[in-house]
Every structure is written in structure tokens, then in C-alpha cells.
């Protein structure tokens, strides 16, 4: 408007748009791979309620607050909630999915090393939200 050229701004905007396109494309590609649930993943039913986690394995065994899985296997979590919205989170494996009452959300992971990890709730769910925690034990295959 005031007699100077704006071309540096156009170059700059083009660079920003190109960067964002690259970020978007990379994110799209990564998410596509992450969301592909492997064939034959073992199903673990996760039930959230104020303020603890219940896990039910395929063979019917139930655990409360603790989850034992075997290293090298793929697991698919089916996440439900009995009361309010919670969020199932194993931060060390970037497992994060809301437990929404009336819905079943799925997320999967395949632990690659023996170890102990924290399970926590990451969506505000009331009085003891801060202590709605559990423990994940990744163990050697039993057989």
C-alpha cells in the first residue's frame, strides 16, 4: 500500500505453507501406519470407572489396577467406561485413548521389552482422578 514491494512476505508465506504441507504429509503417513492393527492381536477389554481400571484378558482372567502382558505379542485394547469419560494412557508406549461411556474405543500396542510401566488416567474424572493409576508388567512369555 505504501510504495514498497511485498515479495519477501510472499516468499516467506510460501515457505511456511510448504513446511506445513510437509508436516501434514508426514503426520498422515505415520498415523496411517500407527492405526493399522496387526492380525491376531490379543484382545484385552479395559473398563474404566471412578477411579480404577479393570482388565479382562481373552481367556477370561480379570485384573484390577494391574495388567500383565507378554513381550513380543500384539495387544488390542477395547476401552469402555462405566460412568464418566476417562482416558486410558500408557505414556511410555504412547497408548492414549478416551474411555467414553456408551462407546468402545480401540487402540493397540506391542511391548518390545520386559519392564514395568505406569498406567494412568489422562482425562479429568473427578475427586481421585489424580490417583487413578495402574501398573503394566511386561513379562517373558510363560511357556
Amino acid at each position: 500500500m505504501s510504495g514498497h514491494s511485498n515479495y519477501p512476505e510472499w516468499i516467506y508465506v510460501a515457505v511456511v505453507i510448504a513446511l506445513m504441507a510437509w508436516v501434514g504429509a508426514e503426520a498422515w503417513e505415520a498415523e496411517r501406519l500407527v492405526e493399522h492393527i496387526p492380525e491376531g492381536a490379543e484382545v484385552i477389554k479395559v473398563t474404566a470407572q471412578q477411579w480404577f481400571w479393570t482388565f479382562e484378558h481373552e481367556d477370561g482372567t480379570k485384573e484390577i489396577g494391574e495388567l500383565h502382558v507378554e513381550v513380543g505379542k500384539a495387544y488390542k485394547f477395547e476401552i469402555r467406561s462405566k460412568d464418566v469419560i476417562h482416558s486410558f494412557n500408557i505414556h511410555d508406549y504412547v497408548v492414549l485413548m478416551d474411555a467414553v461411556p456408551g462407546r468402545v474405543n480401540t487402540v493397540w500396542f506391542a511391548p518390545d521389552a520386559v519392564g514395568v510401566h505406569d498406567i494412568q488416567c489422562r482425562e479429568y474424572c473427578g475427586l481421585i482422578h489424580y490417583n487413578m493409576r495402574g501398573t503394566l508388567y511386561v513379562e517373558e512369555p510363560s511357556s
Binding site: 500500500m1 505504501s2 514498497h4 511485498n6 519477501p8 512476505e9 516467506y12 508465506v13 511456511v16 505453507i17 506445513m20 504441507a21 508436516v23 501434514g24 508426514e26 503426520a27 498422515w28 505415520a30 498415523e31 496411517r32 500407527v34 492405526e35 471412578q50 460412568d83 464418566v84 469419560i85 482416558s87 494412557n89 505414556h91 511410555d92 504412547v94 497408548v95 492414549l96 485413548m97 478416551d98 467414553v100 461411556p101 456408551g102 462407546r103 474405543n105 505406569d118 494412568q120 488416567c121 489422562r122 482425562e123 479429568y124 474424572c125 473427578g126 475427586l127 481421585i128 482422578h129 489424580y130 490417583n131 493409576r133
Partner: protein, 512 residues
């Protein structure tokens, strides 16, 4: 400008006035009061999180319910009772003068919009609800204790109506009451930011108003829109809420950018680099504001396609935001910059705006979102906007307006100390919280397990918060003392800038 404090008037004359500068003053004082109230709640949160609970020690706040109420009212207060009313204060002072009209288009409506805020604030503060500023059902329906929750709903309802009334007034004032000689392309960028913001408010707020009513009837048990036990869907509320409150992010940030557009060219002693790109970027942001609400809900079980659409919609906001940053830097480039206090706040705000935006790109990249979502990363990220960008621009604007409002100068040294302490404190608190989020600490927790990294970073953040607290105390003393006893300001040129590039709002200025 009106020199309210130099010519003392009885307080009722200001309270019952419908003049735009009087209402601006009421907005200004009440919003700053809520800045201090909401900020002290933030200090309470940081003190509580300084130490985890180890064998019964380290807890300062008695129970988690109190803590949950504190962070809920902290967020509600600072968003709805500080940031939005503060923008209205600046708009009331500057917009009519910038479009060369004697007042706002509807002065009585203007007064009504302001006077809806105190009853709403009373409802929010006396209720002290605990369900976060997000009020997510079904928690807010089946678990949140009343009457606090219901008082919060009514308070927000009133604040929503107040915003819409104010927004209508700004749109009419700018479009219909501007001087006949003035084309829309000559309206200063600060007024443009209010035009764009007001349009966003008018489009976005009714959705949340509807959601609040549904939430209320759900709480009363007569409907089940969001209650899964009655066949409702809580995620429907999330959509309605974020359809309003993602655009609301721009409602908060665009006036702050407008304030920077007022301060930066003035203190750089240069015209704005590109007025047209500023207007273009404002309009672009208003459009893309409505394309990205779903990025708050990636972890609710959204399909891959939905996530992709909302990721693209979110990334689309980056180039327009970057244009504003470019505009600021290009304006300062080769300028004879005078780093008076308002300029320091504006420049600090731009730096933190850039940092906040860069963090936002990480949030929206789908796989990374699952690492940061609902963790302290998000707390750090949006606080860099609300504190680092919006509060910084707003406080810069307080210093900038101070001589015009009071006729006196604030203490420049105290203003600069305030800036340096706040800047360091903001970086200590919110950069650290980004890292804390990557370590996996969830938001909205009363206590945390004694993991050494978590303790260390929480303590850094708490120390930063204390530094901000000290700086705000300096601010308060400076404002109160200087408005009574400060040096008389030269209202023609209080910052000693000279030249012809300043104070376009002085109608008598021939260069206007």
C-alpha cells in the same frame, strides 16, 4: 481520551454513564481485578504442586475437591472475566475514536453488556464449580456437585449474552458509524481486529449457548442429550463446545494482535509494513478458526478421516498467524525503536506467540498428539498463548493507555522490571510444562507420584510462577501509586516519540 483520575468525579457518574470511555474504564478496572484474582488461584495451584505427597507431607491444599474447584475457577475467571472484558475495554476506548464517531453505536446496549459481567462473576465465584472450564459430560451431569455447577452454567450463559451484545455493538460501530470519508480499507488494524473478532463471536457463541441449556436440562434430569444412561452422547457436547471454543481462541488472540499492531509501529516510528496483509491475515484466521475444532478431540475415538480433515484445518491457521509475525518484524526492521515498557511487552509477546504456535504444530500432527494430549504439554502450550501472547499484549496496552486514562505517567523502571520478571517467569513455567508433558504428567492432577524428573520440573514451574507473582505485585503497586502520584504526562506525546506516526486516535491530529 478522558482523564478520569485527574478530574475526580463521583463514582456513580462513571457507573451510570453510557459514554464509551467510561464503560471502557469499568471494563478495564474489573478485568484487571479479575487478572489478580485468577492469578492468585494460579499461585495456589503451583504451590500445591511444588511437592508431591510423600507420607502425608507436601500437601498444602486440604483435599482434591478444593484443588479441582481452584483450577476450574482459575480458567473460567481468566478467560471470561479477564481476557474478553479486557479486550472490550480497549475496544471501547479506541474503536469509536479510530472510526471517528462520538461513541459506540448503541451506548445503552454497551452499558448493559458490561453490567451483565458482575452478576455472572458472582455466580462463578460463589459457586466455585469443580468440573473444569470444559464442563465435560457425563461428569458434569452425573458427578459434579450442585449448586456450584448450575451457578457456573448460568454465569457462563450471562457472559455469552454479554459477549454477543458487545460484538453486535462493535460490528455496527465499525461498519455503519465510521466517518463517511473513511473507507473500510482505512480503518486501523486494531479496529479491524475487533470487527473480525465480533463476527466470530456472533457466529460461534450461539452453539455453546445451546449446549449450556442442554447441559442444564440434562442436569435437571428432564433430558438426556449428553447422558449415555439416557441414550445421549457425551461426544456431541464436545463437538458443540469446541465449535464455539476453538474459534474463541481467535476471539482471545486477535484483539491482542490488534493491540500489538497499535504499539509496534508507534514505538518503531515507522508505518506498519503491510496494512493489507494484516487485514488479509485477520480475515483468514477468522475463516480457518471454524475448520479446526476437532483437533481437541483426536483421542475420543475419531476416525482417521476426521482426524486428517481437522489436522489440515488446523495447519491452515499457521500461515496466517505467521503473516502477522512477519508483519511485526518487518515493521520493526530498520525502525528507530524506542523500547519503552509497552514496546517491551509487545515484542516479548510476539516471541512467545511464535513459541506457542510452534508447539501447536506438534499438537495437531496426529501421531504426536497422542503423546501430548491432556498432558502438561497442552497446559504449557495454551498458556503461552493466553499468558505469553494475550496477557503480554494486554499488559503492554495497559501501560500504553495509562497516560491517556490517568493523565500521569507510570514508573518506567518498575514497568521494565515487571516485564523482565514476567518474561523470565513465563518461560520458566510454561516451557518447563511442555517438557513435563513429554514425561507424561497428566493435566488437572491434585498430586503426582514422586518421580524425580516430575518433581524437579514442577518445582521449576512453581518458582517461575512465584516470579510472575512478584512482578504482578510490582505492577499493582505501580498502577495504584502512579495513577495518584505519578508525574504528569505530556498527553500530546507521553512516550517522547516525536514524528508523525503516532496516536492515530487523537482526532485532532492532522496526520490522522
Amino acid at each position: 481520551m478522558v482523564l478520569e483520575l485527574q478530574k475526580p468525579r463521583p463514582i456513580w457518574q462513571i457507573m451510570f454513564s453510557t459514554h464509551h470511555t467510561d464503560i471502557g474504564l469499568l471494563y478495564l478496572i474489573s478485568s484487571l481485578a479479575f487478572l489478580f484474582l485468577g492469578g492468585s488461584l494460579a499461585l495456589a495451584i503451583r504451590i500445591e504442586l511444588f511437592l508431591p505427597n510423600i507420607e502425608g507431607t507436601g500437601q498444602i491444599i486440604a483435599d482434591s475437591m478444593t484443588f479441582n474447584r481452584i483450577f476450574t475457577v482459575h480458567g473460567t475467571t481468566l478467560i471470561f472475566l479477564f481476557i474478553i472484558p479486557f479486550a472490550s475495554a480497549v475496544g471501547n476506548y479506541f474503536v469509536p475514536i479510530m472510526v471517528r464517531y462520538k461513541d459506540m453505536a448503541y451506548p445503552k446496549l454497551n452499558a448493559i453488556a458490561f453490567w451483565m459481567i458482575p452478576p455472572a462473576a458472582v455466580l462463578v465465584w460463589l459457586g466455585f464449580a469443580d468440573f473444569t472450564w470444559y464442563a465435560q459430560p457425563p461428569y458434569s451431569i452425573i458427578s459434579a456437585p450442585g449448586p456450584a455447577a448450575d451457578m457456573w452454567i448460568f454465569g457462563l450463559k450471562i457472559l455469552g449474552v454479554s459477549s454477543v451484545l458487545g460484538a453486535i455493538n462493535f460490528v455496527i460501530t465499525i461498519l455503519k458509524c465510521k466517518h463517511p470519508d473513511m473507507s473500510i480499507g482505512q480503518v486501523p488494524l486494531l479496529a479491524w481486529s475487533f470487527l473480525v473478532t465480533s463476527v466470530i463471536i456472533i457466529v460461534a457463541i450461539p452453539t455453546f449457548a445451546a449446549a449450556l441449556l442442554m447441559l442444564l436440562t440434562d442436569r435437571l434430569g428432564v433430558s438426556g442429550f449428553f447422558n449415555p444412561a439416557m441414550g445421549g452422547d457425551p461426544i456431541a457436547y464436545s463437538h458443540l463446545f469446541w465449535f464455539t471454543f476453538h474459534p474463541e481462541v481467535y476471539v482471545l488472540v486477535l484483539p491482542a494482535i490488534g493491540m500489538m499492531y497499535e504499539i509496534i509501529p508507534r514505538f518503531s516510528r515507522k508505518p506498519i509494513y503491510s496494512y493489507n496483509s494484516g487485514v488479509f491475515a485477520f480475515v483468514m484466521l477468522a475463516l480457518v478458526a471454524f475448520s479446526s475444532w476437532g483437533h481437541h478431540m483426536f483421542a475420543t475415538g475419531m476416525s482417521f478421516t476426521e482426524k486428517t480433515v481437522f489436522m489440515v484445518g488446523t495447519l491452515a491457521a499457521v500461515p496466517a498467524s505467521a503473516m502477522h509475525v512477519f508483519n511485526f518484524i518487518a515493521t520493526m526492521w530498520n525502525g528507530r525503536i524506542k523500547f519503552a515498557t509497552p514496546m517491551m511487552w509487545a515484542v516479548g509477546g510476539i516471541a512467545l506467540f511464535f513459541a506457542a504456535g510452534a508447539g501447536g504444530v506438534v499438537n495437531t500432527a496426529m501421531p504426536l498428539d497422542f503423546s501430548t494430549h491432556d498432558s502438561y504439554w497442552v497446559v504449557g502450550h495454551f498458556h503461552l498463548f493466553v499468558m505469553g501472547t494475550i496477557a503480554f499484549a494486554s499488559i503492554g496496552m495497559v501501560y500504553y493507555m495509562f497516560p491517556y486514562v490517568t493523565g500521569r505517567m507510570y514508573n518506567e523502571t518498575a514497568g521494565k522490571i515487571h516485564f523482565f520478571l514476567s518474561f523470565v517467569g513465563t518461560i520458566l513455567v510454561f516451557f518447563t510444562q511442555h517438557v513435563l508433558g513429554l514425561y507424561g504428567m497428566p493435566r488437572r492432577v491434585f498430586d503426582y507420584p514422586p518421580i524425580p524428573e516430575w518433581i524437579a520440573m514442577n518445582q521449576i514451574a512453581s518458582v517461575g510462577a512465584m516470579i510472575i507473582g512478584v512482578s504482578m505485585a510490582i505492577f499493582l503497586v505501580n498502577m495504584i501509586y502512579s495513577s495518584g502520584k505519578g508525574q504528569l504526562a505530556n498527553t500530546e506525546d507521553p512516550f517522547g516519540l516525536g514524528g508523525k506516526y503516532y496516536y492515530p486516535f487523537e482526532a485532532k491530529n492532522p496526520h490522522h
